[in-house]
């Protein structure tokens, strides 16, 4: 066998060898890249169903006005079963109805604080200000504070998981 038989740059054998080389490289890369990307990305894109979780006992929240309530609920964070901590502002609007404001600023997710003297929610990061209805007064936030869906059952106030 003569190894130097196909010296010409454009010989069919040379073209075949080049094409095969790219094919082998492309094949190996594709077969490994697709699962790797799926491995890294797909779990992150899963949407978790949101359930109602216990926020507190209605009797103890009666008359609340922009009361900061911290609560925890069990949830899974990847492979960890954990007690997630959340913080909201609860207002009793009478007749067993409650408004629950999420404290997550609609700008970049810092936690807003209720400022009683100004009757406003203030964001500690980029200066967002919301009024008592949760609407934007000034600063960068693009939309109002989120009001979390709530329900009352058997004297317990539930809030939609966030």
């Amino acid at each position: 066998m003569n190894l130097h038989a196909d010296k010409a740059e454009s010989s069919p054998r040379r073209s075949f060898v080049k094409a095969s080389l790219f094919f082998i490289g492309g094949l190996i890369n594709t077969v490994i890249a697709v699962p790797l990307l799926g491995f890294a990305i797909l779990p992150a894109l899963r949407n978790k169903p949101r359930k109602f979780v216990v926020l507190g006992i209605v009797d103890l929240l009666k008359g609340s006005r922009y009361k900061k309530v911290n609560y925890t609920f069990q949830s899974k964070d990847g492979w960890v079963k954990t007690n997630k901590k959340r913080s909201v502002y609860v207002t009793d609007t009478g007749n067993g109805n409650f408004v629950v404001f999420s404290r997550v600023c609609s700008h970049l997710n810092c936690l807003v604080r209720w400022e009683e003297s100004k009757r406003q929610f203030l964001c500690p990061c980029h200066g967002g200000v919301f009024d008592e209805e949760g609407d934007v007064v000034e600063g960068p936030p693009p939309k109002a504070l989120e009001r979390l869906p709530v329900k009352v059952e058997d004297g317990v106030l539930y809030v939609k998981e966030t």
């Binding site: 779990p43 507190g56 009361k67 609560y71 964070d77 960890v80 954990t82 959340r86 990061c125 980029h126």
Partner: protein, 383 residues
């Protein structure tokens, strides 16, 4: 004996050729600013070394990260020192890389044929900032947690694909165990490999094209300066020694700022990023409502793209900075904006100092408001 050893290696490794490469003369009139690249390389190696050792004790999980760092600081011999070097080394790296970039601009070194060197350099700058962003989540303290919450939300504001980008960055809908694990992987495996490749390419290009020298250098000046080894390397060594001494002093004397463990419900914490991201923090305040995306996405993206394009925007011959009015203006304005935004960011008023804390305390003490912390029943998540 020594001769025999040298001969043994000479027959197997191209020592002579390596020696020639090392002794290649540099352009004339090179000054200390040409040591900034070597200083950056030194800092990268220092970060790699201290980081590799910190990883021995560090545990990348929300339950253990903070405590593993407390252990490193308080119980591991030299723990504080090594952590300090890594912490202050990161800040020094950002500064040195930025100064290195400025030097290249001032001496017009990015012009043909060194465009690719510049492109790789800009990539390295971005990787260094990526190291910073992924690195300071790892202590899992308040600063770490909130900077990442905000950073991931910034990514989420990218038009169309933003939501997916944010989720991919976090590994889900919120910052948690999955986020910490992937930031750790990116910080300690992905970025180091990327940096290794990019630095190799950067050095290869620098060596292949030769040092750019100064705009005033004549063609004859280009290879009649001092040899790289030992003269230039000695000057690099002196610069590195000064830098290293400052870092050692800081690691010994200035405690690394330590914060409380990350708490997603803490009412009193005013989130602020690391100082080298404060300019962005401040910038974000100026874009309200629907304009938000300009601060989070448009301006940073355009700035980075322009940075990449710099060598292709001007095709003229190399000139000293004082003869390039446009470049001088843009550079001065950019540096001025970065510095002023950073200063404004540092001085940015905190909510903590206002009366906010008082009413909250009152509310907690009001009779109707026994917080739900007292109730201990929890919804079990059905698996």
């Amino acid at each position: 004996m020594k001769r025999k050893i040298v001969e043994f290696f000479e027959e197997r490794i191209p020592l002579r050729s390596i020696e020639e490469h090392m002794k290649k003369p540099l352009p004339r009139h090179i000054n200390w600013m040409f040591s900034l690249g070597a200083m950056a390389l030194f800092l990268l190696v220092l970060q790699a070394a201290t980081g590799a050792f910190l990883a021995i004790y560090y545990s990348p999980s929300p339950d253990h990260a903070y405590n593993s760092l407390t252990y490193i600081r308080n119980e591991v011999p030299f723990g504080n020192f090594i952590r300090g070097l890594h912490h202050w080394g990161a800040s020094a790296l950002v500064i040195v890389v930025f100064l290195h970039l400025l030097r290249v601009v001032i001496y017009d070194s990015y012009k043909a044929p060194r465009e690719l060197t510049w492109l790789v350099g800009v990539l390295l700058l971005l990787v260094v900032l990526g190291f910073g962003f992924t690195g300071y989540l790892l202590p899992w303290d308040q600063k770490a947690y909130w900077a990442t919450v905000v950073g991931a939300k910034i990514a989420s504001t990218v038009p169309i694909i933003g939501d997916a980008v944010g989720k991919i960055l976090r590994g889900g809908e919120e910052v948690g165990a999955v986020t910490l694990a992937r930031f750790y992987a990116i910080h300690t495996i992905w970025l180091p490999w990327i940096v290794f490749g990019l630095v190799g390419l950067h050095l290869l290009l620098v060596r292949h094209l030769g040092s750019s020298g100064l705009p005033k250098n004549s063609p004859e000046d280009m290879d009649t300066g001092k040899p790289f080894y030992p003269n230039q390397l000695f000057e690099d060594g002196v610069a590195i020694l000064i830098l290293f001494s400052v870092l050692v002093a800081m690691a010994l004397v200035v405690p690394v700022p330590t914060e409380e463990i990350a708490d997603p419900t803490d009412a009193s914490y005013d989130p602020r990023p690391e100082w080298y991201f404060l300019f962005l923090f401040q910038l974000l305040k100026y874009f309200e409502g629907p304009l938000e995306v300009f601060g989070t996405f448009v301006i940073p993206t355009v700035a980075i793209l322009l940075l990449f394009l710099v060598p292709f925007l001007s095709r003229k011959e190399r000139l000293p900075i004082r003869k390039r009015p446009v470049a001088l203006t843009i550079t001065s304005l950019s540096v001025l904006s970065l510095v002023s935004l950073t200063i404004l960011g540092i001085r940015s008023p905190k909510l903590n100092s206002t009366a906010t804390a008082a009413p909250e305390t009152e509310q907690t003490e009001a009779p109707s408001s026994a917080g739900t912390e007292v109730f201990d029943f929890r919804l079990e998540e059905g698996d």
